[in-house]
């Protein structure tokens, strides 16, 4: 066995892979949230639909997104494998257990499994539909001089080869963009209270998973220091377990209550 395999399959190495993939997924949480904040723009989905085209066509982003999908699956199944191995370390359990650790840290695999189910639903709700189903199209006509944008829904059955078709009408001074209308798919989906509830509850799972996971990744990397560890723990709790889940949960709630 080479030194690298030996390192990565040791108990510490296995956790190193969880920590590194976990921290990568943390950066994804930030980027995905910032991008999707465009859902809150009151522009008939102009910014969001253009963003969706960019995210699914720009080659570098495409590569990163496939790396991201792979790492999500790796993180999930490697985590379940470690959990399974850890269970084997105590074949006979206790009759009475009084826990002195926090409940989230003990249930990362349960929270992670909830998140995996959530991701499957989330991907089939939007990603799959965007890529594989006949989506409605929307036309944005922008007055170049004033920047005013007029939104027109395309008739049902309209389809085009590219996700985005742009044309310039110099005589009228307008720019026309026809794109797949993911925005209205999102808006329509979140009229379903059950889906909204499922999304919001899943964000609790994100919060609890991050509450333990973020600082735990640094501990696994060996990055513990009296000066910086409190900062890491603070970021883990306030940014990743509070701010980010609230940001995500706000999206279904916004569409359900305000749209």
């Amino acid at each position: 066995m080479s030194w690298l395999t030996k390192t990565l399959t040791s108990s510490i190495g296995k956790k190193l892979l969880m920590a590194l993939t976990g921290l990568f997924l943390c950066t994804f949480l930030i980027v995905h949230l910032i991008g999707n904040l465009q859902l809150f723009k009151n522009d008939g989905g102009y910014a969001f639909n253009n963003y969706a085209v960019f995210m699914t066509t720009f080659p570098l982003i495409k590569i990163v997104s496939y790396v991201n999908y792979a790492l999500i699956l790796f993180h999930a199944f490697w985590g379940l494998y470690i959990t399974y191995k850890n269970r084997q370390a105590r074949p006979v359990g206790y009759a009475v257990v009084k826990n002195s650790s926090n409940v989230f840290s003990r249930n990362m695999a349960v929270l992670g499994t909830i998140l995996l189910v959530y991701l499957a639903v989330h991907m089939s709700d939007f990603w799959y539909k965007y890529h594989n189903e006949a989506l409605p199209y929307v036309k944005y006509t922008e007055q170049i001089s004033s920047g005013n944008i007029e939104t027109t829904m395309m008739e049902t059955g309209y389809t085009q080869e590219a996700k985005k078709v742009e044309s310039l009408n110099e005589a009228a001074g307008t720019k026309t963009i026809i794109v797949k209308d993911l925005y209205s798919v999102v808006s329509f989906s979140f009229q379903n209270i059950l889906l909204v509830l499922f999304y919001v509850l899943s964000m609790f799972a994100v919060a609890f998973h991050m509450f333990h996971g973020f600082q735990s990744a640094f501990q696994t990397l060996g990055w513990s220091h009296p000066k910086y560890t409190p900062l890491i723990k603070g970021i883990g709790v306030w940014v990743f377990a509070v701010l980010i889940p609230i940001g995500y949960a706000a999206m279904p709630l916004y569409f359900y209550f305000l749209k």
Binding site: S11, A89, N99, G222
Partner: protein, 250 residues
């Protein structure tokens, strides 16, 4: 005081055990938990019954032999205390106390509450030492050590190897024990020559013994009778990963 006990009874490593109920009368609040077991065992012997097997040695909290999992916590409810230093005044008259052995694949039950902790000995033998060649000991002051480093090394060296960390961990992980043993030497000049091989070999032995992996729940440090800190686990991760990358062994 009268104490009702539910104690794990198991004939040997091959048989399966079960919780047996005992009633102990005339328990003094000043008795240690182990003395309460002594009283019970004397009574059992007089009644021609099998006494309960349990580990103990120094009875002053420094040897690491006592190993009872009391009401769901290793060494009972008090913080920073071994079972031998736990007194019956901590409990109330008429309490029912459940006593189980450490549970870990790497610590098989020998009999009743006695488990085989030689896995820890094998981990120590794999690297928890400094090699000292023959000759006179040099003057202690010729090795300058900063006070902060000395204090951290001393705090790690307080580990008595009782195995409460393994017992408390939901993964039966031995990381707190191994990290304390690696830390106490990694922090001191005497430990430098074998620093890399120590971290690599002790972790390899820990894994081979069948302990689980650390998931940073912190239960070990919370239950440790010597209050070994989780920072040691971070240091072990650093030592191990650093040694994996920089050591010349391929």
């Amino acid at each position: 005081m009268t104490i009702n006990l539910k104690v794990w009874k198991q004939k040997n490593a091959k048989t399966s055990g079960s919780l047996e109920t005992y009633k102990v009368d005339h328990v003094s609040p000043d008795m240690s938990f182990l003395e309460m077991f002594d009283v019970l065992n004397e009574k059992l012997v007089q009644e021609n019954k099998e006494p309960i097997a349990f580990d103990h040695d120094c009875r002053e909290g420094i040897c690491g032999m006592c190993s009872m999992y009391i009401n769901g916590q290793p060494h009972g409810p008090l913080e920073g205390v071994t079972t031998c230093q736990l007194h019956m005044r901590t409990f109330n008259d008429g309490d029912t106390i459940v006593v189980e052995p450490w549970r870990s694949k790497a610590f098989p039950v020998i009999k009743d509450l006695v488990v085989d902790r030689s896995a820890f000995d094998r981990i120590i033998a794999s690297g928890g030492y400094v090699s000292v060649n023959t000759g006179n000991a040099q003057d202690a002051n010729s090795l300058p050590i900063g006070k902060d480093k000395a204090d951290m090394a001393f705090a790690a060296a307080a580990c008595i190897g009782c195995g409460a960390c393994v017992a408390a961990c939901k993964n039966a992980s031995a990381m707190l024990f191994v990290s304390a043993k690696v830390s106490q030497l990694a922090l001191l000049p005497q430990g430098q020559p074998e620093r890399e091989s120590r971290a690599l070999n002790m972790v390899a032995q820990m894994d081979a013994e069948g302990f689980g992996a650390c998931t940073n729940t912190g239960a070990c440090a919370a239950e440790c009778p010597k209050e070994i800190s989780l920072e040691n686990i971070a240091r072990l991760n650093r030592e191990f990963l650093g040694a994996s990358i920089s050591s010349t062994g391929v």
